[in-house]
Symmetry: C2
């Protein structure tokens, strides 16, 4: 046990998945021992992104999948006219980059909402490991599937006819994700702007702003810029659905 080796071990350990505080949330879940070590080896040194920095852009060649270690990102697409549609917000432990698997080119863009730390999983190396470790292959499929299910949630949110239901569902879902990160699920610190929230939900920023104010008046929230405290989780949950029976959404 010479000191130098110990230091090296610590450094490697620090950046390895097995010691990652979020490790049960991301790829290795369900993988143990040797297999985890092999996965560790494929993780490139982590990157840090400043607020506003791009992780990847449209048409970038597919190099790697990325796991958020800390901070938050948004992914979005833009059309020729420059119109943006936000696809997702990514919190620590969440993976992004799957959009490029189909064509080997990214078809969306990823931007840091705040100073963020990112794990990079070079796909070539990842592919090599998955071919040797069937468990990782299955796990990777599961992770993509979760991505699909997450997008379903987004679609359901956007399908709601009342803007208030949409925002309530958004906050409710965010609180859930915070709790999964062992954070306080009632004291949200929103990394995204009102503008981003509006775009994500298919609304305009004024509507979102008014809804925050209205929900504050109702005693559901306490809003202070980016900081949102959920005073009445029960009421928030109730606001996620309309009381009146909707004609559109009933089963035919």
């Amino acid at each position: 046990m010479e000191p130098a080796a110990t230091v090296l071990d610590l450094n490697q350990l620090r950046r390895s998945c097995s010691s990652c505080a979020l490790y049960e949330l991301c790829l290795p879940a369900g993988i143990g021992g040797d297999d985890l070590d092999r996965l560790d080896a494929t993780v490139k040194d982590k990157r840090t992104l400043e607020r506003g920095a791009m992780l990847y852009r449209e048409n970038d060649t597919f190099e790697a999948l990325y796991v958020v270690r800390s901070g938050a990102l948004k992914t979005f697409v833009q059309n020729e006219a420059g119109d943006m549609q936000i696809l997702a917000f990514h919190l620590p432990g969440e993976i992004l980059g799957f959009d490029a698997l189909a064509t080997n080119l990214h078809v969306s863009q990823a931007e840091a909402l705040e100073r963020s730390s990112i794990c990079e999983l070079p796909y070539a190396k990842l592919q090599q490991v998955t071919s040797e470790v069937p468990a990782l292959h299955r796990q990777l499929m599961r992770v993509i599937s979760r991505e699909v299910v997450e997008e379903h949630r987004h679609l359901v949110m956007m399908g709601k006819q009342q803007a208030q239901e949409q925002l309530a569902s958004f906050l409710h879902g965010l609180a859930d994700r915070y709790q999964r990160l062992h954070r306080d699920g009632t004291a949200l610190n929103l990394p995204m702007s009102r503008y981003d929230i509006a775009n994500y939900l298919g609304l305009v920023v004024e509507t979102v702003s008014r809804l925050f104010s209205r929900m504050e008046e109702m005693g559901v929230l306490e809003v202070n810029r980016k900081s949102v405290r959920i005073l009445r989780p029960d009421l928030l949950a109730a606001l996620c659905r309309t009381d009146t029976v909707s004609r559109r959404n009933d089963v035919g």
Copy 2:
């Protein structure tokens, strides 16, 4: 070459991927020769679903992935109250069932919109083959990724602020998919109801109906119940975007 064997061969051939008219559209794309044969062997006999029949329901255990051979299906989720949100329409050559990969339980439902023929790919067998054929593994990942990208398109559609843009985009995208199937992309025969279209886009059925009428008046479409003829593809494409610059979607 005794007659009986020939008949058997023909039958097997008929239901095999290598002779499937849609084969370049679905899983085997990019796979050849021996590998294709092995994939053929994993495909279970095809199923036929009548209009309204369910392919799978929520909480069904994950058995297989499914490829549409003919007909059309919709996938959707329902909440406790029975509210429905349609997630996708599936045309021939398209795969469904990926939602269950994460939990081994389906979290959505699939229903035939008309008499449909389905290829069943039992996942256990598929997994065995993918572990032996790396190319298929990569192909499968690509297909799921395409699913993700397809959902992005749905999100962009729902994010549009004008209902007319939404419907125009929907029809435009449908025309594209018809052409990929070597069908006439200007003579659509909609397998889904107005109700389904409305739900898919987050609108109500009256709005969709009015928009069809309006677009007919504009000379863009000729509508006759389920049959929609696109008279002016150029105008339809133009209707997919608003002329006026939208504040919400501009890049900040």
